[in-house]
Amino acid sequence: MQAELNGPGDGAPVLSLRGISKSFPGVRALNAVQLDLYPGQVTALVGENGAGKSTIVKILTGIYQPDEGTIAVRGAETRFPTAQAAGEAGVTAIHQETVLFDELTVAENIFIGHAPRGRFGLIDKRRMEREAAEILASIGADLSPRVRLRDLGIASKHLVAIARALSIDASVVIMDEPTAALSHKEIHELYDLVAKLKAQGKAILFISHKFDEIFRIADRWTVFRDGQFVGEGLMGEVDEGRLVQMMVGREVDQIYPKRPARIGAPALTVAGYSHPTEFEDITFTLHEGEILGFYGLVGAGRSEVMQALFGITRPSKGACRTGDGIRVIRSTAEAIDAGIVYVPEDRGRQGAVRGLPIFQNVTLPSLSRTSKSGFLRLAEEFTLAREYTQRLDLRAASLDQDLGLLSGGNQQKVVIAKWLATKPKVIILDEPTKGIDIGSKAAVHDFMSELAAEGLAVIMVSSEIPEVLGMSDRVIVMREGRIAAEFAGEMMTPENLVRAAAGIRERNAA
């Protein structure tokens, strides 16, 4: 494996992690993983959402402490109890969204928190500006250190963020999806920058979902899956097919209660739905009794499409057809009238009204039915709430209990009950099992398949491949705001989904 490495300083890794584990309540985020970073080389860390990539970055930058395992810098075992300690050890990170200060100058932004001090502990402004200019020159950024940040464009701000990361004389640079928010031109400038950093002998950890850029700039790869280390090696000795297989190739140990449903008449037809920034030309048909899966990377625009269908945002173009005619949904009230309901991903913010009792949460969108000419009828409300919470096997002390006192899974059941109580024709579930316990997860899956069997049309947005494959009759894959592919039957394989989501062309297939 240690054959001809390109770039200087091969041999011993500058940073080496062994046996790192990290647990959060109810989740094992990392399980004895390893990672090596070599000077003058780019290591790509590859894995699905939830593989543990963000957790390892937070451990490397001193934000999380590992439960087990060792961190070694140039062979010497060490710990990063704080973010400062990680910085002093030479580890720095460029995040997707670095927090910068608009009212401060470029130099002040670069050195905030560790500005060079002069007499009386005051900031040595001249030295700071000189050093800032040096760093900016080293990354080829033509910026004055004295300019206020608010006068710069987005691309320049990004360069400042990079300069800030480099201002601590790092030997290890972590780039966590650095190109996610960049334009085509800026991405190429970033590639040049990576090459410069390599030439300076820095070890780079590059996290990306985009295979084309991984193959373009990385020297080595490491794959994580479900918090486990899967493998590592040199880029020259692997192809895309093999990486995808390692990313998704898990044993399907969960059994999904998908029942064969009778696919009926079209329940919802969406034609050419577009939004100025979020999605483009979304066209599909959903049938009664069908579970249609929507897969894609985070940021592919799936939730945005669903929220437009639910009337939260308005599409700039396109129309949809439900049972009673063609229309553009302009408000949530109209969507509910049309029989389209949406169980949001962000349950705490968009789904559950904590502070209100369970029964009031259930009846919230159905108040026009449970009330009479605007006056509440509590008996009707309790009847409705009883019926639907019982169907979802809710666990609660009483229906009058504050929703905020329930577990995440039970809150999710109440949110789903709330929507079923409106007797919808189309139910959209956005990451319905994210962050809930296994038991509730199974109940939600079970229930979803029961609903489809009853003839309800279901859209399930999910980033979990086993869930998408286990529950869906058909899968639409979205990428960068567009429908990238649609799979049904035997074409519904993990490899196909990941390829379509990452934009890998067919000719690259292994």
């Binding site: 009204v353 502070g355 009031q360 919230l364 026009s368 096997d393 809710l394 002390a397 229906l399 009058d400």
Partner: protein, 332 residues
């Protein structure tokens, strides 16, 4: 899933564990009612003139006008907004009525001008907050200066006097025996707002918005429309209060009702409405209005000087913020 297949799926969840009556018995409102009774008894011992029905009737003026606004303000604060411009709406409304009076408008027109001015002010606040998405505290601090500023421009150092005799009824008339027209309005609107907030789907939506406006919107509630209506409602009640106050004073000065907004908010918060929104009740506000009226009246009977009275009102305001917290700590 379940091994016992004969049973219907899911277990029966009881509707309630504590009856509504028991809930009421351990409520903030009941504690506040106890405070009101205690002050009443203390006052009746402290001054021989306190228990006189006509004295009590006169004393009711020191809370009725504020309470009319407090009912609407309570709903607004429960929904997570606030309107600090209410006293200035009174000033502008009174000024507009004064202008109409100077133009020779008869009594019914004066009332109409009052109601419309209040509604327009409320609509203006509501448009800025619900329509343009500006924070209500900033908007209404701005309109607080704006509305009263217009009054100062119109009136300067002067005053409007000479309202028609028929106009005096709203602030000085009696409906029956010692029951003033204002007291009657207080009771009437207490019932109207109590029903609106606690018995209608509109009131339910107000609680939902106050607890989580985003989730309310995601539940099909027209959040901004309701917020607009709440501002409109607060403007209307301020207009009604302006009619009563102008009628009672018989004149309009630009400094009319100065400081009312803080007393209204104090009343609402004392009534158990969370300043952060989401909880509170109209019965609580009704009792809080009585408490504040009794305190002011009792201190007046004891010849407590005005400056000391404002110190006591200030202490009450701080106590109001602290008490609910201590109360909820005690309940746990």
């Amino acid at each position: 899933m379940s091994v016992t297949s004969e049973e219907p799926r899911g277990r029966q969840i009881p509707d309630r564990l504590t009856s509504p009556l028991r809930k009421a018995l351990s409520s903030w409102e009941l504690l506040l009612f106890g405070v009101a009774v205690a002050i009443f008894i203390a006052n009746s011992f402290a001054s021989p003139w306190f228990l006189d029905p006509w004295n009590l009737s006169d004393a009711s003026f020191n809370f009725t006008e504020k309470a009319l606004i407090a009912f609407a303000m309570a709903m607004l604060i429960i929904a997570g907004d606030i309107d600090l411009s209410v006293a200035s709406i009174i000033a502008l409304t009174s000024t507009m009525m004064g202008l109409a009076m100077m133009a020779g408008a008869p009594m019914p027109v004066l009332v109409l001008v009052g109601l419309v001015t209040g509604l327009v002010c409320g609509a203006f606040n509501g448009l800025l907050v619900a329509g343009f998405g500006l924070p209500s505290i900033v908007v209404t601090i701005g309109t607080m200066s704006l509305f009263r500023g217009i009054s100062y421009i119109v009136l300067g150092d002067g005053a409007f006097t000479g309202y028609p005799a028929s106009f005096a009824y709203f602030g000085q008339g009696y409906v029956w025996w010692v029951i003033t027209f204002e007291l009657f309005l207080f009771a009437l609107f207490a019932v109207i707002f109590g029903v609106l907030l606690h018995k209608t789907s509109f009131g339910r939506a107000v609680y939902a918005i106050g607890n989580n406006a985003t989730a309310a919107r995601f539940s099909g509630i027209r959040v901004n429309r309701i917020r607009f209506i709440l501002f409109l409602q607060t403007g209307l009640m301020s207009g009604i209060a302006a009619i009563c106050l102008t009628s009672r004073l018989g004149s309009t000065r630009p400094s009319i009702a100065t400081g009312f907004e803080l007393e209204v908010v104090t009343m609402v918060v004392l009534g158990g409405v969370s300043i952060l929104g989401g909880s509170g009740s109209i019965p609580g506000v009704v009792i809080a209005a009585l408490v504040m009226g009794l305190v002011t009246f009792g201190l007046g009977l004891l010849n407590v000087p005005g400056i000391v009275m404002s110190i006591i009102i200030g202490a009450l305001l701080i106590g109001v913020i602290a008490l609910p917290r201590l109360w909820s700590m005690w309940r746990r």
